[in-house]
Subunit: 382 residues, 2 copies
Amino acid sequence: MRKVSIVGIGQTKAGEHWERSLRDLAADAILSALKDAGLEKANALYVGNMLSGELTAQQQLGALVADWAGLGSIEAVKVEAADASGAAAVRMGYLGVASGVQDVVVVCGVEKTTDADAETAIAAWSSGTDAEYESFHGLTMPGVAGLLMRRYMHEYGVGREDMAPFAVNAHKNGVNNPNAMFRSPITTEAFLKSGMVADPVGMFDAAPLCDGAAALVLCPTSRARELAAKPVGIRASSVSTDRVAVHSRRDPLFLQAAYLSAQKALQQAGVGPADIGVFELHDAFTVMAALSLEACGFAARGKGTLLARDGEIGVQGRIPISTMGGLKARGHPLGATGVYQIVELALQLRGEAGANQVKCSLGMAQSLGGSGAIAVTHILGI
Amino acid sequence: MRKVSIVGIGQTKAGEHWERSLRDLAADAILSALKDAGLEKANALYVGNMLSGELTAQQQLGALVADWAGLGSIEAVKVEAADASGAAAVRMGYLGVASGVQDVVVVCGVEKTTDADAETAIAAWSSGTDAEYESFHGLTMPGVAGLLMRRYMHEYGVGREDMAPFAVNAHKNGVNNPNAMFRSPITTEAFLKSGMVADPVGMFDAAPLCDGAAALVLCPTSRARELAAKPVGIRASSVSTDRVAVHSRRDPLFLQAAYLSAQKALQQAGVGPADIGVFELHDAFTVMAALSLEACGFAARGKGTLLARDGEIGVQGRIPISTMGGLKARGHPLGATGVYQIVELALQLRGEAGANQVKCSLGMAQSLGGSGAIAVTHILGI
C-alpha cells in the first residue's frame, strides 16, 4: 500500500451560477487543480455528486466531466454518499493511488442545485434520509436537523443562543474567503432574530444549498515532491456508516459513524484529537457542528457549544473549525462539499489561507451524509 | 498491489419484484454471497446503482444497504456509471482489496425500475446519455440504439434479420437460467414480426428493464483458498470512457471505450482474445452486442453479425456470449447488470452453469454505460 499526497487543488466560487452548467463548473475546478500540480493529464477521475440525476436528469458524470475537462478516455466514475459524496470520491481516489493501480488521480466534487427551484432542491437533498421511513412521510433534511436540535436543547439544557457562535464564527471566516458564498459577518442578534426554517432551526443555523466544484490531484507520496513545492500528505482516510433513519439509531444525539470514522482515522495517523490543529467539520446545521465536535473527541457529550462559546473554534482558538466559512458561509454544494473541505485544509497546511491562516501541521476534515448515516474522515499533514 | 479473488456469489431472480423493496433485494443477494463464502461480515460494501435517486428519491444506498444486510457500520458507498454502475462497483471493490486497505469486500449491484411506470423508467435510463445534447431533445436510450443500428445496417449492408441470432441465442440460454426474467426460446420469425421500439430496433432487439440484485465477496487471493473451494481470480480490471453524446464521437460505430478497456484488460491478464473462453457482453440492444464483439477483438469491423450467424456465440461456439441469457433474456436491471455478469462468469468458471456450462478457464465480462460512454472490463480465471 502506497502513501498518497495531494499535489494540486482547485475550486470555483460557491454560490449561484445561473450562467454555468455542471460540467463547466467541474472542468473549471479540475483544470485549476491540474495547473496547480503542473500536469495536463491524469490516469483516473472520481466525481463526487449527489443530485445531478434527480435535478437535471444527467447521470454518468464520470465520462461527461472527463470529456469536458479534456482528460481523454481515462477511467472515470461517479461516487455518491449523499452530502458526503465528495469526500467519498476523495476516498476512492486515495484507494486508486494507494493500490498502485493509478499514478495520478483527479478527484472532483461538483453540484448544481440552482437548476431546480429551492423546494425541489431541498426535497432532493432529503433523499439522503431514509426515503421509506423519513422523507416519504414529509421529513426533510432541515426537519431532521430540527428534531435533533430540539432534542439537544432538551437533553443538555442549552438554548438557541448557545448555537449562535457556530454561525457567527463561520460567517466571520467567510468574509476572508474569496470563494465563499456569503462574505458578510453576522451578529448574535441577527442570528436570534432570523426566521425559522424548521423550529428550532433558524435561517442562520442552516447552511445554504448552492452550486460549486472543487478538485484535487493525488499521486504517490514518493512522486509528490517532483510535482508540488508543498505536497500535502493524506495521513489517514476512513469511512464508517450508521443507520440512515434517525429513529433507528440507539442514541440520536450520538453520531456513531462520525465517532467510528474519526477513531479509525486517528488510529491510522497515529495521533489523538489534541494533535489536530484545524478541523473542517460538517456544519450543515449548527447542531451538527456541536455533535461532530463531540463525536470526534474534541468536546465531551453535550459540551460542544461550550467550545464555541469560549472562542475555541475560532482561527486563534484551540480547535479552529470552518476556517474558510464552513458549509454555513462558504456554502453547501452537497456533493462538492467534501472536496471543498479538503481543498481548504490543504490551503491551511500549505500556509495559503490568507487572513484565516491557522498555524498547524496536521488537520482533519470530516464530511457527513444525510443526518450522519455516513462519515468520511481524512487527516492531512505537511 | 495484491491479487484479488471472488470467494462468494449471490443473486436474486431478475424480473418484476412488485412486493419487494430495493434494500430487500440487495440484502438478499448479499446474504447469499456471504453464505457462499462462509462469512458473516465484511470490511466494506460498494453498491452499484443507477436510478434509486431518480425513481424512488432514495440516495445513500451504501449506508442503507449495509444496515439492512446486517453488515454493521462498515465503509459503504454507492458507485454510479449509468448501466455500468454494477461493474464500476466491482472495480471499486477490486481497488479496495488490491490496495491492502480492505480484506473482505462485498460488492452489490441493485436496481428497482418497477417502482415507476415504464415511461418514467425509460426516461430515467436515458439520463445515461448526454442530458443537454441528447435526452433533453427527446432522444432516449432505445432511440440512440435505433440510430446506431440504422447506421450499422447502412454501413455494412446487413438487415434486421442479421441481428436476430443475438436475441435467439440469448433467449435459448435464458431457458436454463432459473434467475432469468425470460425463460422462453424465441424464433427468428417471432423476432422479425415483433413490434418496433425505435425503428429499426424491435422488441426483441432490446433488453427489458427490470428489478434485481447480485453480489460478490472479494478477498486477497492469498486468503481465497481458506474461504472457497473454487475461488475465481480477477486477472484484470479496467475502465475506459468515451464522449457521452454519440454525435461527438469520431466514429459512432466504433466503441472506443470498449476497445480501450478491453485492450488494457487483456494486457493486464497477459492474454489475447483467442484465450477468452466465454464473454459476457453488454447486449442491451442487438447492435451493441455486434459492436462489442468488434471493439473487443472477437470480430473484424462490420463482421460481428457473422459470428452470430455462424453459431460461434452459442454455448458450444468459438466465443460463447450471454451464456445465462445476457441482458436480453436474463433481464437488464441497469445498475445491477454488471454484477450479474460477474456472478454468471464465476458460475461458468466454477463449473456450476448447469445446462449452459461452457468449458473454459478464462472469461471476460464487459459492461457499458449509456451508449458506450464508459466500458468496464474484467477478466476472470480459475
